[in-house]
Symmetry: C4
Subunit: 121 residues, 4 copies
């Protein structure tokens, strides 16, 4: 059950809405599953339209655990709201990455999700 | 028409919302399609952020059938609401797996879906 | 530019909601893109949880055209509303298939989409 | 970190809703991530159900940047609202492409997204 997934994942559509309504805050989460027996050490980079990327934000996923990492609560790096961005996740062991958005700009919430694109190498 | 899909599928973003509104209950479904002439015997495992995985929940998909398995009605295993989780589906024959969420926390429902990530092996 | 995509595509999560509200009717569409210079002749099959599949519903996508095929307007085959189903699309030439749902059961509409899973062969 | 992604991407389900409500306009965006050190020169084609494709709309993604390209603000080419279409993106260097829709036809917005289908070649 080792080696499920890939070591690099890419997500072109990142966007944290500026506004929220109701009980749920607009946010995005990078969801990572590590089915291996080893700790996954992630290095996450964020790309923008008109500024330099923010690289090497670190995160850990313990063996046989998932982590849903909110991009507005990274601790250290700060991703601006209302700005298009993109995400690259690199891991020392194979993992699987999916990215989801909750948007509550207008009354009632909306969700979207996509499996990230794996890079084989 | 045998052997369509893969034997292992991974879904990092699982979450059953705690609240519902209107006529529709918030829920998630693991949707499986078995186009083969053989019964598919599934073993489903659930991973969490801060506890041991729940492994080997069993389900059957007859030949040339689909099943949309709600994760809040597994019978036996219980997935807590309001907690991030992830899913691993293993099958004895190739199948295809897609996971969808309905969220009715705020008035009006919202849907999201993603094809699971197949593991080639 | 010939031969873009695959000849067989699978979609486990099909469901046409029974109810609608507002100006938009709840529906699903099988969206097909044919970038080739040849006509694509599709054979679409529908799988259910507890009945025999409906096979070989035919559709045509002309060269360099897209078609968004509503599953509630197939002409001939009838997919029941409110029942889980799954879809298999086979084409004589490579195409790309994506499936989307609009759900207006509760006030305000909701959308979800997924690229179908391609079968290499 | 060069060569992440693919050079051709296909998106069968394009549709720009005719109506909007609230503060958000209904729209679609082709989201592209270029992690390479080279400028990505894109050639985007749009396919329809009953008319000739619009080919070779150009766009640039600088090195280590993302661009979220709204299909209702292409400058030059004009994609009609309320009409099914499909998208083909070709790039001189490998990139990753995801397509998302915001639909605010009925009160409250709805989102959907899918990673485009990569063509290996």
């Amino acid at each position: 059950m080792s080696s499920e997934g890939a070591r690099v994942w890419l997500i072109p559509d990142g966007f944290i809405p500026e506004e929220s309504s109701g009980s749920q805050e607009s946010h995005e989460a990078i969801c990572v599953l590590n089915t291996s027996a080893e700790e996954a050490r992630l290095s996450i980079s964020f790309y923008f339209e008109d500024r330099e990327p923010v690289k090497d934000v670190e995160a850990i996923v313990p063996p046989e655990r998932t982590r849903h990492i909110r991009t507005d609560r990274l601790g250290g790096a700060e991703i601006p709201r209302g700005v298009p961005y993109a995400i690259r996740v690199e891991s020392n062991v194979p993992v699987v990455v999916q990215c989801s958005r909750m948007d509550t700009t207008q009354a009632a919430l909306s969700l979207m999700t996509a499996m990230a694109h794996p890079v084989e190498r």
